[in-house]
Every structure is written in C-alpha cells, then in structure tokens.
C-alpha cells in the first residue's frame, strides 16, 4: 500500500502524481522502489477522481451474488 499512500500525499500537497514524484517520496521513506509498480499506479490513477475513489467504500460485492441468489 505504500505506493498508494505516496500518491495520496502528493494528492494532498497538490503536486503532480507522476513517476518522478512518487519515486522521490518512496525513496525518502526508504522504500526499495519498483519502477513497474510506480508506472502501474500512475497509469491506474490517470482517469480517476482520487477524492471520490478514496471516499467510495470498496468492499467485495459478495452481497450482490448473495442477494440475487439467496
């Protein structure tokens, strides 16, 4: 989750969530940064409204199957 936390700090500080910035934050925290994970995160966040995604509860939708099936 450290990569996600890093993105969230950048989001709050208003800095751009790009590979360089993420790497800097993680480096500073002593994380052994994996470039591919940084890239993947940047790609995943590209079209995401972070505020919204943070607030929307993300639980496994087991209920849907259950509700429909039960």
């Amino acid at each position: 989750m450290e990569y996600v936390y890093a993105a969230l700090i950048l989001n709050e500080s208003g800095e751009e969530i790009n590979e360089d910035n993420l790497t800097d934050v993680l480096d500073a925290a002593g994380v052994d940064v994996e470039e591919s994970r940084v890239k993947a995160l940047v790609a995943a966040l590209e079209d995401v409204d972070i505020e919204e995604a943070v607030e929307e509860a993300a639980a496994a939708p087991v209920a849907a199957g259950g509700a429909a099936g039960g």
Partner: protein, 297 residues
C-alpha cells in the same frame, strides 16, 4: 560566552557561577528544555519523581535567579523560557519531543488531598452517592459547604453532584475537613509543565495536548481511504488484491444471475432465484385455489 562568564565571575560568588555553568551544561545536552511548576510537591516526592524520570528526562531545581542565568547563558532561544521562572519551579531537559514530554508528565501526576488555604486548581465536586458515613452532625457539615446532602436509608447521602468550590477559590478549613473525611483528593500533583522549548519553538501546555484516539482514527481513515483508492482505481496491492478478486467474482456472478447464464457454478443460484421468484409471485395471489397445496394456508 566564555568572556561573558569571566566577567560574571567577578560579580557573583564562585559557587553560584559553578552552579549556573552546571545547569547550563545540562540544558545544552538536551533537545527539549522545559519549565515545570513544582509548587507543593514535598521534597521526598520530588526525589521519587526525579528517579521515575530517569532515562527520559532530567529535572534540575535551584534558585530561580540561577535558573534564569543558566537559561540566558545557554541563549539559543532558551532565554524565552525565563518569563516562566517564577514561584517554585525547576528546569527539565529531555531528548523526547515536547508532546511526548507533556504526555509523560501528565500521566505521572497523582491525586492528592487539598489543604485549607490552598487555591482550587479545578472545580471541586462532591459526587452523588452514599458517603458511607453514619447519620450524625456530618450531614450538617456537608450542607454548610454547599453539598446536596441528606440522611437517607440509614446513612448520609449526596443526592446530586455538588460543586463545592470553583477553580481559583481558596479552600476553607471546613471544606478541607469534609474532603478529608470523604477521602476526596482534588489535586493532581506532579510536575506541571509551564512551557517547553525545542528546535526553536516554544510550546505551552494547551498546545501540547494530544488526542491520541483521534490520531488512531485518522490512521484508520487513511488506511481505509488508501484501500478504497487501490480497489476503485484497480491498482492491486497485496493488501487489496483479495478484495479485487472478490469484486470481480461478484460482478461475474451478478452478471451470470442477471442474464441467467447456464454456468455450472451459477445454476444452483439460478434455481434458488427461480424458487424465490415463484414464491414471491405466489405470495401475490389471493385465491388459494390457484396455489399449490404446499403454499395454501
């Protein structure tokens, strides 16, 4: 500094100079320096406190003039603390941060009885309840200091929480006697931090209070938020990938159920769903003759 020290050597006695130097040296060796109020703490208790602090903080008591001199001698911002050196105080040095120091000092405070003539550090309240004292003149003493007391069920009872003295007021002999009789210890005795100076910043106690529970809930909120972001943005981490797998499976199952896809995994659920539907429909039918026997009432 040494030139200044030499000049002072001429004006104050040697032992004072040595004491100031020793205090200054001690202050310089710590990252945070504070002024603590030690009013009313018996010297033996002070010794105990000093021992308890050992390892995290060092307490130094001396004449205030010498404490002030030492603070000024160290300079470095510590002279900002001199205004707090009044009354019975000591200087405390620690390498832990001011917030931690404050928490620690607060936690180490112990309740103590208050004597006649002392000033109430906070409202003094006699709590509602059975005093455990047999009926007698004591009920009158309670009433005379303002407690809502009565004789009831064979003992003296206080019928409601009664504030008998407000913060800043002086404790009377009568009140002291009653409190003593009831075993109420309204004082919090301990090293009372007046101010602390660290890394160029001076903190006063009201700035140092921490709501640890709030921090804990912030942590949980931060973790939940990150969790949500990870799942909602479809960025898998070892913490969230299980939920993502379950989400994907739930979606597939929802689709399979909605579309009645004849998948072996879903068919039992489809059968259940059909059963639920047929029962729901049957429940809407008023005419029992139209229903199978199993559903007729």
């Amino acid at each position: 500094m040494s030139a200044e020290s030499e000049r002072k050597t001429e004006t104050i006695p040697q032992w004072k100079e040595e004491e100031v130097d020793a205090i200054a040296e001690m202050l310089e060796s710590y990252e945070s320096v504070g002024v603590v109020d030690i009013t009313g703490i018996p010297s033996r208790q002070l010794q105990d406190m000093r021992r308890d602090l050992h390892g995290t903080a060092e307490l130094r008591v001396s004449r205030n003039t010498l404490l002030v001199r030492a603070l000024e001698e160290v300079d470095d911002g510590l002279e900002e603390l001199t205004e707090y050196v009044t009354g019975q105080v000591g200087l405390i040095g620690t390498d832990s941060n001011p917030f931690s120091l404050y928490q620690e000092l607060e936690a180490s405070k112990t309740p103590a009885p208050i004597g006649a003539g002392e000033v109430a550090p906070n409202d003094i309240v006699i709590p509602e309840g059975d005093t455990g004292v047999d009926p007698g003149p004591f009920v009158g003493e309670l009433q005379s200091i303002g407690a809502d007391a009565r004789i009831q069920e064979g003992s003296i009872q206080v019928l409601s929480d009664s504030t008998v003295l407000e913060t800043g007021e002086e404790v009377s002999q009568d009140l002291a006697n009653v409190l003593n009789e009831l075993g109420i210890e309204p004082k919090e005795v301990g090293l009372d931090l007046r101010a602390v100076y660290a890394d160029g910043v001076r903190f006063e106690p009201d700035e140092l209070e921490l709501d640890v529970e709030e921090y804990e809930s912030d942590i949980k909120a931060a973790v939940s938020g990150a969790f949500n972001l990870s799942v909602n943005a479809e960025y898998p981490t070892s913490t969230t990938v299980t939920t993502m797998l379950q989400t994907a499976r739930g979606e597939a199952k929802s689709l399979a159920l909605a579309a009645a896809i004849e998948d072996p995994e879903v068919v039992p659920d489809l059968v259940s769903k059909a059963d639920a539907q047929v029962r729901a429909l049957a429940a809407q039918i008023d005419d029992e003759e139209a229903l199978p026997e199993e559903l007729q009432e």
